[in-house]
Structure formats: structure tokens, C-alpha cells
């Protein structure tokens, strides 16, 4: 037996080596792919950046006939719809996460989690089709009512602005919110569940109500993780292509704050125009992709930085 074990150890040494190199190769692969994507996108967007310069990010005109490509309205549309989505999705997601972890009776908890996870795997094109077939028609009337109600309020009257469109920044924001809610909820739920029971029991023992307990021990403990969950949701919302392309309205040159106006976003433009694009037009679309790539990298890096910081702090608190 001892000999067997020894022999096993011997072969284990070789396997160990193979494993080490295998995982190294896998890790290197990710970096190589990322580098290759970055490299080819930079080189292919060179044409349009050479012609447009920094105007690519500052100009509002996007014209195939005049070979002028300014991405500002699409950059604006991407950020604006993502922000609308976050504003709508975060309160709901946190509410659901707190309900599932702190309030719901045990028999309801499992099915709720199941349904939420199911919602997270619905393909985005399904939401997009539903948005364009059902939602965009119904919401227009709702927008009209909302605009009339807030027209007299200075800034809100401009955001919920005049002549609402069925397919608009807001409709795209609503669809994106529906798509990212399950993601934010599921991440928040996991973060919240790591709250040490001791912290919660201590608060309850001091006579705190359930809400006071959540405020005093759950939220401070999970703050970092919750922010990271929201950032990941934001990244997803910005990169969403098909659903946005279907419901955003594809209007050019829109940089206003009227959320009820039609607009356009970077991924939607790429998906819509790639098939028939030539030369410089293609280069401009690649440059849009690169901009989106950089934007999501920034979002994801800051999300992971926040998570790292909160983990350090979390460990500090519980010991």
C-alpha cells in the first residue's frame, strides 16, 4: 500500500506539471484574446480617427454621404439609457434582494430565487421583441400622461419631455432595467447573505426592529458588494445590443435630456449599420466598438476595485 501511494505520488508529479502548464495556457489565452481584440480594433479604427480626429467623440453628425462620423449622440444615448435603467432597476433589485433574504418566509424563498434566476437567462432578443411589439405601443400613452403631469416642473418637465415617442431612450431604459434587475438582485442577495448572523442578532438583541437591523448591520456590511452589483448591471446595460436596437428608435443627432425622444446607442448603431457599411463607415463602426469596449472595461475595473476594497473592510469588521 505504501508503495502504491508512492507510485501514485510519482505520477502525480507529472500530472502536476501538466496541470500547471495547462492552467497557465488557459490564463494566457484570455490575455492573448483580449490583446488581439484590442489590437485589431485599434488598427481598424485608425482610418476614421485619422480623418475625424477627436471630432469623432465630439461631433454630432453621422453621415455616410459626407463621410463625417461623430459618435457623441451614440455615446450620450448609451450612457443615458444605462443611467435610466440603473435608476429604475436598483430600488427594485435591492427591495427584492432584501425581501428574499430578510423578510420572505422560507417556503417562498426558494421559488422566488428560482424565478429570478430564470428571468436572468431570458435571451435579450425576447425582451427586445416584447418591447417593440407590446411595450413601445402601450408606453406612449403613459408617457403623454406623465409629461402633462410634470410639464410645469423645471428640470423634470424637460426630462419627461414633450412629444413622447413609443420607441425612445425611456423605453430602452425600461427594457434594460428589466434585463439587469435579476442580475443585480442575484448578486446583491449573495452579498447580503454573507452578513454575519452575529451582527444581525446583536442588533435584534438590542431591541432593533427588522428595518433598523437591516440599516444598522446588513447594509453597512454589504455596501461595497452592492455597489459592485450595480456597476456590473451598468456594464451589461451599456453593452446590450439587440434589445436596445429594437426599442431605442434609431434617431440621429440626439443629445438632449428628453428621455421620451428617440435616440440611438453605440451597440445599436453597430448592429444596424454593419451589413451595408463600406470602408470609412466600417472603420467608424469599429471605433464605436472600441469606445464601448473601453467604457465597459472602465466600469468593470472600478467594480472589481470596489469589491476588493469592501472585502478587506468586511474582513476587518468581522474579526
Amino acid at each position: 500500500m505504501a508503495k502504491d501511494a508512492l507510485e501514485l505520488q510519482g505520477t502525480g508529479g507529472g500530472a502536476d506539471q501538466a496541470f500547471r502548464w495547462g492552467v497557465r495556457a488557459a490564463a494566457a489565452m484570455v490575455l492573448v484574446v483580449l490583446a488581439m481584440v484590442a489590437l485589431s480594433m485599434t488598427s481598424r479604427s485608425g482610418d476614421v480617427l485619422g480623418v475625424m480626429g477627436l471630432d469623432f467623440f465630439g461631433s454630432r453628425r453621422w453621415s455616410e454621404a459626407d463621410e463625417l462620423y461623430g459618435a457623441l449622440p451614440f455615446l450620450w444615448g448609451t450612457l443615458y439609457t444605462a443611467v435610466i435603467a440603473i435608476v429604475l432597476a436598483v430600488p427594485v433589485s435591492l427591495g427584492v434582494a432584501l425581501f428574499v433574504t430578510q423578510v420572505a418566509p422560507p417556503w417562498l424563498k426558494k421559488p422566488m430565487i428560482y424565478v429570478l434566476d430564470l428571468l436572468a437567462v431570458v435571451p435579450s432578443v425576447v425582451f427586445g421583441l416584447w418591447g417593440v411589439m407590446v411595450l413601445s405601443g402601450e408606453l406612449r400613452e403613459v408617457y403623454l400622461v406623465m409629461h402633462r403631469a410634470v410639464d410645469w416642473i423645471p428640470v423634470l418637465g424637460d426630462i419627461l419631455g414633450p412629444s413622447p415617442q413609443g420607441r425612445s431612450f425611456m423605453t430602452a431604459g425600461v427594457i434594460l432595467a428589466i434585463m439587469i434587475t435579476p442580475i443585480i438582485t442575484s448578486l446583491s442577495r449573495e452579498v447580503i447573505e454573507t452578513t454575519p448572523p452575529g451582527d444581525k442578532e446583536a442588533a435584534l438583541a438590542l431591541g432593533a426592529t427588522r428595518w433598523e437591523m437591516i440599516r444598522a448591520s446588513v447594509l453597512p456590511h454589504s455596501k461595497g458588494g452592492l455597489v459592485a452589483a450595480v456597476m456590473l448591471g451598468l456594464g451589461r446595460a451599456m453593452g446590450e445590443t439587440i434589445a436596445a436596437a429594437l426599442v431605442i428608435g434609431s434617431a440621429l443627432g440626439q443629445t438632449g435630456i428628453n428621455a421620451f425622444a428617440s435616440g440611438n446607442s453605440m451597440p445599436a448603431v453597430i448592429a444596424n449599420e454593419w451589413g451595408e457599411a463600406n470602408d470609412l463607415h466600417k472603420s467608424a463602426l469599429v471605433a464605436l466598438a472600441m469606445t464601448l469596449f473601453l467604457l465597459t472595461i472602465v466600469i468593470n475595473l472600478s467594480a472589481s476595485a470596489i469589491v476588493r476594497r469592501s472585502m478587506v473592510r468586511g474582513r476587518g469588521a468581522s474579526t
Partner: protein
């Protein structure tokens, strides 16, 4: 629970539409003339080969039916056609990723040098009409001059009872409804044909130039694909949009008679689009534009689609299959077009294209 119910309803709806469009294609396939089974080709029946093509979505429905008809008679040959747009088709052919490209417009001269396989042959295979479809209650026949269309799509005219529209339609009572303009959200050959028509026929009025995408005013409604624009027109009172003939018919839209280069108002039909192919100047390499064709019967917003191949074929089996397939599309295949609401080539063009088949060089 509600999301589940909602989603399953939606999936059902999507499945239904897919089935409906399949059915249409099947019916078109059934009308396959009996003659296609008999070999009409002078060449020997091609041996086993697989042909790949990509490009124009405009002729995709025709490709599907033609492939079905051709491979039924030539069982050894397998043909795949992926859409993706004319631009993608030309790029794929240029990179020699495919054996033939479907394209609604020719290569730019500047790009020819990039083609890896040398000289090209253009075979026109289909013509088609782009309608100006509208949704105005009580107006059963609408006539439009190019200048009026240009003003409408630029949003210079915003009401249906505008003097310019009334001038084109003497005696017709037009309502004071707001005009809603529907256009494509995606880059499209249909947009290219439509804007080329306006650029050519109303140069003093039309400011948006031409291309697969143009700078539409922000207060226009975008639709995804021809069917998307058709849907906007169908569901919005006062709407007007450009939609290809087959989608306009499938959606049961009303469409306008358009004033052509000879000053006659012409209804978009497969016959008037074919007539456009007769009244045009064709270059030696069979490159032409069917937009704004001369002739009383020619519909002015007509487009064309070519199958583009390399002159010099490098693979014998593939080259033979390609030649047989091209011949099929130019002869028996033409009989399948009307069912799909595409226009067949006029005899003059068909003869030129068939004669050009001899230029295809096999190894």
C-alpha cells in the same frame, strides 16, 4: 409568474410569424415550373460540389427558392446562401470566402484592386420595385411626384392636405392628418435605391443625399428591415414609408403611383419594374442602375441585384456547378420571381446575361 406567461405568449407569436414566412416560401417553391426538372443546360450536369454565397438580403428570398429548385434537379450540388447585406457579400467575395456574392450595387472602382481573385463578372438576376406605402383613411389612390416625396421625407411637408400633395392628386379629398414618416433603422440597399431615386429625380429639393443610411430628421419613425417599416406604416394612421413590393403586399399596404422620368404616374408592379430594366443604359460589364429609368411604363423606384463571381474559376467542379446555377437563375429561375413579387429581367438584359456566361473561365 407573469413574466413566464408573457414570454411563452411571445415565443408563440414569434413561432407563428416564422411559420407564416416559411409557408410563403414553400408556396413559391411549389410553382417551380415543371421545365426545371429537365436539364436546360448545354453543359454536362455538374458533379458533386458545394457553392457558398452571401450578401444582398434583397434577393435572399429568390436565392432560397432558386437553390431549392436547382438542387432538386442537380442532386450532387449543395448551395448555401447567407444574407448579411450587399456590403458583406462584396467583402466576402473580395476575400475569397465565398464562391459568389449577391449585391444590389457594384464594387467601387477603388476597391477592385483589393479583390484576391482578379476580374469579376456581374450577372443581373432580379429587379424589384420599392413602394411608397401609406396609411391614410379614405384615400384609395395616391399619386406622388418625386419633389413631393422629397419634401415629405425631409419633413418640409407635415400634413396630408398640403398644397404640394393636392397638386399631384387633383380631385382627391385629402384629410388634415399629420404625416408620420417611417424609414429604415438599419443600413439597407432599399434605402440606397430610394435615396438614389430622390437624388436623381428631385435634385433641387432633396438635401439628404443617398446611401445605405442617410441623416434622417429626428422626428421620423425607424423600423427594422422592410417588414419593420411596413409594420410602422400599417399601425400608424397618417404614416408613409418606403417598403419593397413583396413586404408591402404581404402587409396589405396601399402604395402610391409615382411620377417617372417621362412624366407618367406608374403603379409599382413586377411588370413596371421589369419595364424599368428595359429603359436603361447598360454598360458592357452589365452594370447599370434601374432607378429613374426612361420609358412611359417604367416604375422609377426600381432596383436590381447581381450575382457577382470571379471570371477565372480555380476549381473545376465548383466552376461547372456555378455556371449551371447561374444559367438556371437566368432561365427557369426567372419564372419563380413573380410569385415572390420580384420582377424578372426583360428579354434584352436576359440575353446579354446569358451570352456573358461564356466568359466564365473554367480550369
Amino acid at each position: 409568474m407573469t413574466p413566464l406567461v408573457r414570454n411563452s405568449l411571445l415565443i408563440g407569436a414569434v413561432a407563428l410569424t416564422t411559420m407564416a414566412s416559411c409557408k410563403k416560401k414553400e408556396e413559391a417553391g411549389k410553382t417551380d415550373p415543371a421545365g426545371s426538372a429537365a436539364p436546360t443546360t448545354a453543359e454536362a450536369s455538374p458533379s458533386a460540389a458545394t457553392l457558398n454565397g452571401s450578401g444582398s438580403t434583397f434577393m435572399k428570398a429568390f436565392q432560397e427558392v432558386a437553390i431549392e429548385g436547382f438542387t432538386k434537379a442537380n442532386t450532387g450540388v449543395k448551395i448555401n446562401y447567407g444574407g448579411g447585406g450587399s456590403g458583406k457579400g462584396r467583402q466576402d467575395l473580395s476575400d475569397q470566402v465565398v464562391d459568389f456574392a449577391g449585391s444590389d450595387s457594384p464594387f467601387k472602382d477603388a476597391d477592385l484592386a483589393k479583390n484576391k481573385g482578379g476580374d469579376l463578372l456581374y450577372f443581373p438576376v432580379v429587379l424589384g420595385a420599392v413602394t411608397v406605402s401609406y396609411n391614410v383613411e379614405g384615400v384609395s389612390k395616391l399619386q406622388l411626384a418625386p419633389e413631393t416625396i422629397a419634401k415629405i421625407f425631409q419633413r418640409d411637408i407635415k400634413k396630408w392636405d398640403d398644397a404640394a400633395i393636392a397638386a399631384d392628386n387633383p380631385g382627391v379629398k385629402l384629410p388634415a392628418t399629420e404625416i408620420v414618416v417611417a424609414r429604415r433603422a438599419d443600413g439597407s440597399g432599399t434605402t440606397d435605391i430610394f435615396t438614389k431615386f430622390l437624388n436623381g429625380a428631385a435634385p433641387s429639393v432633396w438635401k439628404l443625399k443617398s446611401g445605405s443610411t442617410v441623416e434622417w430628421p429626428a422626428d421620423t419613425q425607424a423600423g427594422q428591415g422592410n417588414s419593420g417599416v411596413a409594420q410602422v406604416v400599417k399601425s400608424t394612421p397618417g404614416a408613409i414609408g418606403y417598403v419593397d413590393l413583396s413586404d408591402a403586399k404581404a402587409t396589405a399596404l396601399s402604395y402610391a403611383w409615382i411620377k417617372n422620368a417621362s412624366g407618367a404616374y406608374v403603379e409599382p408592379t413586377t411588370a413596371s419594374a421589369s419595364a424599368a430594366g428595359d429603359g436603361i443604359e447598360v454598360k458592357d460589364n452589365l452594370v447599370f442602375s434601374a432607378v429613374n429609368a426612361k420609358g412611359d411604363a417604367a416604375y422609377p423606384i426600381s432596383g436590381q441585384s447581381w450575382v457577382i463571381v470571379y471570371t477565372k474559376q480555380t476549381d473545376k467542379a465548383k466552376g461547372e456547378a456555378l455556371k449551371a446555377y447561374l444559367r438556371y437563375m437566368l432561365t427557369d429561375g426567372q419564372g419563380l420571381l413573380a410569385e415572390l413579387d420580384f420582377a424578372p429581367l426583360p428579354k434584352s438584359l436576359q440575353d446579354k446575361a446569358l451570352a456573358q456566361l461564356d466568359k466564365l473561365q473554367l480550369p
